[in-house]
């Protein structure tokens, strides 16, 4: 049977949300092509137990490489193993997450196999038996529909676009990967500097609260932190470039053309004018909310919901109401 492969990213031995998104996207393509889904999961010893969640999200086969040498991402061993696995299974399509890891790994696999890769895909469909991928180009100012002139067709999918969907498959045990030999790496990760808020990155958070120059100074960020806190563990902080360039916030939080591209369920733009380069990073959010004192600010051309007003008056009230709402719901 033909195969669609999904790369199931892990961290600390656990699947990341993007792994379930990749499995879900692969399942959709496989159904349209009449194919099976094989999910590849690499991680430390014990990572086999993650097979269950992958099967629940549509994987017919789970291919596992468990070992200390796969505990952390390292380009060469991962590329080697995945290329071997592709040679063995000859998939029609391989789906990667467009995460930090996926964006490093997918191009390497493509180069190793000499096949085409479509990055940051937001839509996948099958027309006349061929895969069509849709992806933003020119910072989202246009969308490209593409097809593939090589096989397997490699795609990386934008986080938060393909919502994980359960579609359980029967439980065969995880298979061992083709050839988990240790390939020597050309680079070595010697340290990981963790940020305070943990691993929920702005690029992958389902809820993003971004602050701009209207916040007036870094000392007021506690207002945004309080809102994030009220919104719960699925929310994360973002920022405009003006704020990052001023040194108020770290660059890792910047949303926009020269920052991160986000596609959350809801995006809050607080004191952000909505310059074209900022829009490039957030216009594919499902719902956009803005608070800005200037009714003419370009952000209001994008929003679904907005409040014209002083953010210093609006924010505390917003935080309080959301906190109340969540407290009554739980």
């Amino acid at each position: 049977m033909a195969t669609v492969l999904a790369f199931a990213e892990t961290r600390g031995g656990r699947l990341r949300t993007v792994a379930l998104e990749a499995a879900t996207a692969a399942r959709g393509v496989a159904d349209a092509l009449g194919a099976d889904v094989a999910a590849c999961v690499f991680g430390p010893p014990g990572v086999e137990k993650e097979a269950e969640a992958l099967r629940r999200h549509g994987a017919d086969v789970v291919v596992c490489a468990a070992g200390e040498s796969f505990a952390r991402y390292s380009p060469e061993p991962f590329t080697h193993l995945l290329a071997e696995e592709m040679a063995r299974r000859d998939p029609l399509v391989a789906v990667f997450p467009a995460s930090a890891l996926g964006k490093d790994l997918a191009p390497r696999v493509a180069a190793r196999l000499r096949v085409g890769l479509a990055s940051e895909v937001t839509e996948l469909r099958v027309e006349g038996g061929a895969l069509i991928a849709v992806r933003p180009v020119y910072a989202g100012k246009a969308f490209a529909s593409v097809r593939f002139a090589s096989r397997p067709a490699l795609v990386s999918i934008r986080p938060n676009v393909f919502q994980p969907r359960e579609n359980p498959r029967s439980g065969t045990p995880a298979e061992a990967a083709a050839n988990p030999v240790t390939i020597s790496a050309r680079t070595r990760v010697v340290a990981f500097e963790e940020e305070q808020r943990g691993e929920l990155d702005v690029a992958e958070a389902p809820i993003v609260v971004s602050g701009g120059r209207g916040m007036k100074g870094p000392e007021h960020w506690q207002l945004l932190e309080a809102l994030v806190e009220a919104l719960g563990p699925r929310a994360s902080l973002g920022a405009s470039r003006a704020v990052v360039d001023a040194g108020w916030r770290p660059h890792a939080e910047q949303v926009g053309q020269t920052g991160k591209v986000v596609s959350p369920e809801v995006y809050f733009a607080i004191g952000i004018s909505g310059a074209i380069q900022h829009q490039a990073g957030m216009r594919t959010a499902k719902v956009i909310v803005a608070v800005n004192k200037d009714p003419e600010a370009p952000i209001f051309k994008l929003v679904d919901y907005g409040i014209v007003g002083d953010l210093f008056e609006v924010l505390p009230k917003l935080t309080e109401e959301i906190r109340k709402l969540r407290a009554s719901a739980s």
Partner: protein, 249 residues
């Protein structure tokens, strides 16, 4: 120290993108083209390393048409020593471009090859890692800090929730992210000097595209506001609608 920096000519970030009538590209009339913003960080880092070393050659390379010479002149004006135009067309996906760049680079003396993280026209984020793979070189992408201690290099790389510190030795490939440095502007003197610096041309033809563009379309229109309120009094209504209508709370 021999450093190469690979650069690309792209539409300016302010540009309104107009799709050509055949849907196979953009209409270039009135579009201002610039050096890819991420490549500015790559050029700046390369210049600083060369200046610190006090010796070496910095070469700028691009795959593009005649017009890409302007981009190379910008890099020469910033301080690169020489430039090479690989005259041809880049591929739609990264691989064809990477193959041509790798072919050019493979027999040259190299300590470091710099790239930008991403070209802001195709937004592929593919070429640097592909070149590294083809040349079998160590490679670190999305780099925000670069240091050398006792002959060993350390690059700080952005990932979700923090940074990885990656150790490697040269020759190597680095893809620059914003934050790595503050790029300089070409000085008037630099611009004058650039005119006399060598700019070599090599015919390479059109790179092979394994991903084929069927059609470009405008982004899906946003529906427009369903609710705009005023001041703190509007908060209750906003929260109600976010919960009941948008179902995001």
């Amino acid at each position: 120290m021999n450093i190469t920096v690979c650069v690309r000519r792209v539409p300016d970030t302010e540009t309104r993108i107009k799709i050509a009538p055949d849907g196979k590209g953009i209409d270039p009339t009135g579009v201002k083209f610039v050096l890819n913003p991420y490549d500015e960080f790559a050029v700046e880092e390369a210049l600083r390393l060369k200046e610190q070393a006090g010796q070496g050659t910095l070469t700028a390379v691009t795959l593009g048409g005649e017009a890409a010479k302007e981009t190379l002149r910008t890099v020469l004006a910033m301080g690169a020593d020489q430039a090479v135009l690989l005259k041809g067309e880049p591929s739609f996906d990264g691989l064809g471009t990477a193959e041509i760049l790798a072919e050019y680079l493979k027999d040259r003396p190299l300590d470091l090859v710099f790239f930008g993280k991403q070209a802001i026209d195709d937004d592929n984020m593919q070429v640097p890692a592909m070149v590294a793979e083809l040349l079998e070189l160590p490679c670190v992408t999305v780099v925000v800090e670069l240091q050398r201690k006792d002959g060993v290099w350390h690059a700080k790389r952005e990932v979700e929730g923090g940074h990885e510190i990656v150790e490697f030795t040269t020759p190597a490939v680095i893809a620059a992210q914003k934050g790595l440095n503050e790029p300089r502007y070409p000085s008037l003197k630099g611009i004058m000097a650039a005119k006399k610096k060598p700019l070599e041309e090599v015919e390479v033809g059109t790179a092979e595209s394994r991903v084929v563009l069927e059609r470009l379309t405008p982004p899906p229109e946003r529906k427009g506001p369903v609710f705009i309120g005023e001041g703190p009094e509007a908060v209750s209504e906003l929260v109600r609608r976010l919960r009941e209508e948008a179902k995001v709370l």
